[in-house]
Every structure is written in structure tokens, then in C-alpha cells.
Subunit: 361 residues, 2 copies
């Protein structure tokens, strides 16, 4: 029996075990071709079938309308920070952003290289503990960009902004894609680095409404144009084959599991278990995010001192509860409980935290 | 026993079997962490060790001097077409290119977006059958760019250009990295998409002389700056973890094999077997590349008609000799015999081609 731990890392993160087992089984012989999926030509019909299947699965799970393109790109979500501005900027219009933490800030920084950026709201005044509710979106904005879930601070949008109809909403969903249903037609573009809810690091999913593909200036480098990748079915260049293959295995698992509504139900159940431990700890564990902005994906909390936090991480590790240390830029503790974290892992963590409180308060 | 074929695809391409077997063994439990290498945080010490090991292996195999940085980036070599210009362009200086086929042409196209490009030589006049020998490199060029091996046409540089000492030589070595020894200090920068000689698709190796990292303009997007990736040890953003891990397994195999001199010896032996079949076929097989420009990696040839070529591909496939069809933009036949193609595969192909000639001439 292979040793497996409960992995609370913020990403790369735990994957569905059956997806990994399938990959292991296939590793030397993909679809009985006598080649690994890593070895077969991306122009082969066997690989094309696999790409098509990955496309079909994400379209099915997210109910993506036909007038949206699905792209599988290398370079990470960090590349989409600049590609968003490159592809959607309109001369003379402001690009609008809401700043909810580290990832939003990075997206803003890159957009500023391409024109006028308005940060219309920010929760920096309170250490990014909340999702802003008061903001005005300009009628003439090129787009509005938000980060749906903030891994560093453990906050998440529960009520989506509703920009004027001419202003596309662009969302970095890297850390909560398919964690809950979304209505894709409410967005101009959605992008997500795979390594939290979708698959392994190395591929980024972009979902973009077709009419927005025409905005990009002609003299843009080919690899930075969404339109070229769309036209070439994500194979303008050799795609990151194995990461896409793993996303497909993972998406197949979630389809078999029963789809996004069921995933959300489980995610709410999992998050409640941990937030209950925090809320019932008489302040021994102190949640970082405000209650109305809490993330279903990243449960962040602090304790009375660095020493006790460090002790908690160490004792957790001894129980095979791995990756509980908060992000280096924030400190504290963080349990990331993406889709693929089993509820048994969350229960084991809750039990440990309860016991740890009893022996250390 | 797992079915395995001989895979002559041009990339993604065959990988060393022991590297795949190691990956299979590790898949659910990397370094006894109880996690897949796809699941563990890229900030963990176990992953840092793996990155460091990949770095050390490529430095050892290529004898990379200390004043060169090694970067592992997402986005493919196609992204390096633009990043070369972005990072090395100097205002007022021409960027010089030698055009030896499809990949060079794409690199040239992207560079033109960033300034004045001089194509100082091209073999387009004869369907890219040769590597140009006559050209003058400007003393004030920002850099000279070449593609060392041309997968589409089956040509390869055998005598490197020697630009003036102030002009860095930049080489796209995607299809012949570590296929033969090179003297890294003769180059300003070398880059290579992994999916031919190094590992699977999804990661690109960049080797760049440190003093060149200062050229990039301040207002360049972060992800496009080699300097940022160098400063952050290729972890400015989440790197393509699994592709890098596979490169490491593959590099370990080549180190154990005996290093680049031994790889080259084998590559020359392999290529000679196939070129001998072509040269001794009385014109039944006609080599595409001129003899003095022949590639050790991609053996390209044509036959009397499309029909006979198609029959040859079909019969080869029946013998588990896969991927012999030439690139769609060129036609004809192509056998890609990168480092990891065993000599037994080349012998099997030679035997088949000899028999096929006998029964079809």
C-alpha cells in the first residue's frame, strides 16, 4: 500500500487519487499506442482525441456556451496577467481592477504597462481580510478584473460584480474554478492556472467570449494573442501535453463524481467543519478573513504567537497533515481544501486542531 | 510486458525508458512524501532539491560556466522567439538572423515587432536544403540568432558562426540540445523546448550569460524578463513541475549513460545507418538535405510519388515503426532519431526500408 498523506498545500495541491492511478497505469502505454502520452506527437489523432475530450469535459462541467472559446496555454496564470491587458485593452478606456490581495496586485502591476488602470476598490486597508462591496464601475471601462478567491488571505467573492453590459468581467479563477457553479455568460473571460482545482502546474485554462478575440492589436507577438491560440485549437505551438492530460483525468473524475453542484455541496461541508473549529475555539484560533468574505478553498487563521503556530505545524506534520504553514508574505496558518481534498482529511485536521487546542491553551 | 513501439515522431518524441519507469514508480509517492510530485508545493524543500538536481545535471552534462544562468520556463520555445528580442534588443542596433526554415522564420517574424531585423543569409532559395556558409555579421548587431537543427528540413549546423566578440550568438537548440558537445561560452544564450531531446513538452530551458540580463527595458512585463526568472531561480511563478521533473529523470539517465561525447558518438552511428540506406538506394530514397548539411536528428527523404511514400508509412506502422510521415508543410518522409531513440530502432527501420525498396522498386 502506497503511503499517502493529507496535503493542505495551497498549490500545487492534492489531486484526485483515481486520476493519479490512471496516469500511473497509462504511463508507458497511452491508449495502447506503445508510447507514453509524453512521447506521442501532438499532431497524432490519439492526442487530438485527448484534447477534444478535455475540452468537452470542461464545457460540460461548466456549461460553457458555444460562443466561448476554451484555450489550454502554457506560461501560468502570471502570463495571463499581461495577456488580459494585451488582449482586452481598448485605447482611451481605463482598465478597472479590484484589489483583493497579492494576485490582484500582480495583475494590476502588469496591466499598468499597457495603459491607464483604475483600481476602483481595495481591501488593503484591512490586510485584505474582506471582499469590497462598495465600488463604481465606469461605463467606459475596457474591462473589470477581479480575483475570485485569494489564496494568501483566505477570502472569496460570494456576490459577483455586475458591470455595465459593455464592460466584460474578467476573473482570475485559478483557485476556485469548478469549486462552485458559475454562469459563464456573465463573464467576458475566465482564466485559471491548473495547479489548485484542475490538475498539475504547467497549464492555464482560458475561457473567453469569441467577440472579444478581435480586440487584440495586429502587432502583438503571436504567443500573446488569445485569437491565435483559439484559431489553432490551442496547438499553435506544442501544448503542455502531460499537464493537459492530467487535467482531463481529473475532469473525468469530477464528471463521474456528479458535477459542480455536488462539488460545491461537499466544499461547503468541508469548509464548515474547519470554520466551526475556529469559531468555537474561544479565540485560540483566530480566523484571518471576515466572516462574510471567507473562502471555501483556503482557511486562514492565526494563533497567539509564532511559536505556537510553528508547534502546530510540526505536530500536524507528524500526523501526516502536511502544508499548514501560511504563505510567507502573510504568516499564520492556512489549510487549503480544494475540490480534491477528501472530507476525511478535513475531519482529521479538525480533530487534530481540537486536540491541539486542548493540550496547548 | 508493456507494448512499446519505435517512435520516430519529431517531437514530442521518444523518452529514455528508465526515465519513464522511474516516473511511474514515483507517481503516487514522490521521495516518500506521500504525495505525487504533481501535488507537492513548489516551495517545499523536496521540490527545491529536485530543481537543484535538474540544474546540476544540465550544468554538468553541458559544462555550463558559472557566469551563465539556467532557467526552466513555461510557454515553449515559441515564447522564446519573442523573449529573445525583448531581452536582447538594443535600441538602434539591428537584430541579425540566419533563416534555415520554418522555426527560424517564426523567430524572425516575432523579432520584427521589436525593431530592425537583418536576415543576413537564408537557404530558402533551395527549399532550405542547406545551411548557409556565406554571410557577414554586422559589428554593431544586437545579436545573431540561428536555429541549430531544422526538424522540418533535416538540416543542422556543423560549423558554428563566429560573430564579432561584442555580438552574442543566440541559438535555438530545441532539437539538438545535448545531442553533441557545445562550448557554452561561445554563446550569449541557448534555448530549447524540452520535447525533443530533453523531456516532455511544457518546459523550455534557457541558458543565458549573466551580463546579458541587464539589457531588458524596465517597462517589460515580468513574465517576459529573463532577469526576473533568473533572480527567482525559475520560481517567480509556479514552474511546470512535472515536465521539469521528467527532464531531471532524463538528464540523470544521460549522465549515467556517460555524457554528451558518448551521446554524440551514438547519434553519429545511428544517423550513418539511415543515410547509408538512402545513399545506397540508387535513388529510390532521395535525401532532402544536402550532404554537408545533414541533420543527426531528423533524417528527411522523399520517394518517387506520394502514393509510394504513403504505402511506406503504412507498412512501417504495421511493423511498429511509428511517425515516419514528413511534416505537413514539407511532405515526404522523416525519421526523427533523437538521443533517446535506441540504435535497435534505427536498425529495425533500416532493415524495413531496405526490404521495402526491394519489394517496390
Amino acid at each position: 500500500m502506497t503511503k499517502r498523506v493529507y496535503n493542505f498545500y495551497a498549490g500545487p495541491a492534492t489531486l484526485p487519487l483515481p486520476a493519479l492511478e490512471k496516469a500511473k497505469e497509462d504511463l508507458l502505454n497511452f491508449e495502447n499506442t506503445g508510447m507514453s502520452v509524453m512521447e506521442i506527437s501532438h499532431r497524432s489523432k490519439e492526442w487530438q482525441n485527448e484534447m477534444d475530450a478535455a475540452d468537452a469535459l470542461i464545457r460540460d462541467l461548466m456549461k460553457i456556451p458555444n460562443d466561448y472559446q476554451v484555450l489550454w496555454l502554457g506560461g501560468g496564470a502570471s502570463t495571463q496577467f499581461l495577456m488580459t491587458a494585451v488582449n482586452l485593452q481598448v485605447e482611451g478606456k481605463p482598465m478597472e481592477y479590484i484589489n483583493t490581495g497579492g494576485w490582484s496586485s500582480k495583475a494590476i502591476k502588469e496591466a499598468k504597462l499597457y495603459g491607464n488602470v483604475n483600481v476602483i476598490a481595495s481591501s488593503e486597508d484591512d490586510k485584505f481580510r474582506y471582499i469590497p462591496k462598495d465600488y463604481n464601475i465606469s461605463d467606459n471601462a475596457a474591462y473589470l478584473h477581479i480575483t475570485s478567491n485569494n489564496t494568501l488571505y483566505g477570502t472569496e467573492w460570494h456576490h459577483w460584480p455586475t458591470p455595465p453590459s459593455d464592460v466584460p468581467l474578467v476573473v482570475d479563477m485559478s483557485s476556485d474554478l469548478i469549486a462552485r457553479p458559475v454562469n459563464v455568460k456573465d463573464y467576458g473571460a475566465i482564466y485559471a492556472g491548473a495547479q489548485k482545482n484542475l490538475g498539475p502546474a504547467g497549464v492555464t485554462l482560458v475561457i473567453v467570449r469569441e467577440d472579444l478575440l478581435n480586440r487584440v492589436p495586429e502587432n502583438t507577438p503571436s504567443m500573446l494573442k488569445w485569437s491565435i491560440h483559439a484559431e489553432k485549437g490551442s496547438m499553435y505551438n506544442t501544448p503542455p501535453v502531460f499537464p493537459i492530460y492530467m487535467c482531463k483525468q481529473s475532469l473525468q473524475y469530477w464528471k463521474d463524481f456528479g458535477g459542480v453542484e455536488k462539488i460545491e455541496k461537499l466544499n461547503r461541508e468541508k469548509a464548515k467543519i474547519l470554520y466551526d473549529v475556529i469559531d468555537q475555539s474561544d479565540g485560540f484560533y483566530k480566523g484571518h478573513a471576515r466572516e462574510d468574505s471567507r473562502s471555501l478553498m483556503n482557511v486562514t487563521f492565526t494563533m497567539a504567537s509564532d511559536e505556537i503556530e510553528s508547534k502546530c505545524v510540526t505536530e500536524g506534520t507528524k500526523r501526516d497533515l502536511i502544508g499548514l504553514k501560511g504563505h510567507r508574505s502573510v504568516g499564520g496558518m492556512r489549510a487549503s481544501i480544494y475540490n480534491a481534498m477528501p472530507i476525511e482529511g478535513v475531519r482529521a485536521l479538525a480533530e487534530f486542531l481540537t486536540e491541539f487546542k486542548e493540550s496547548n491553551q
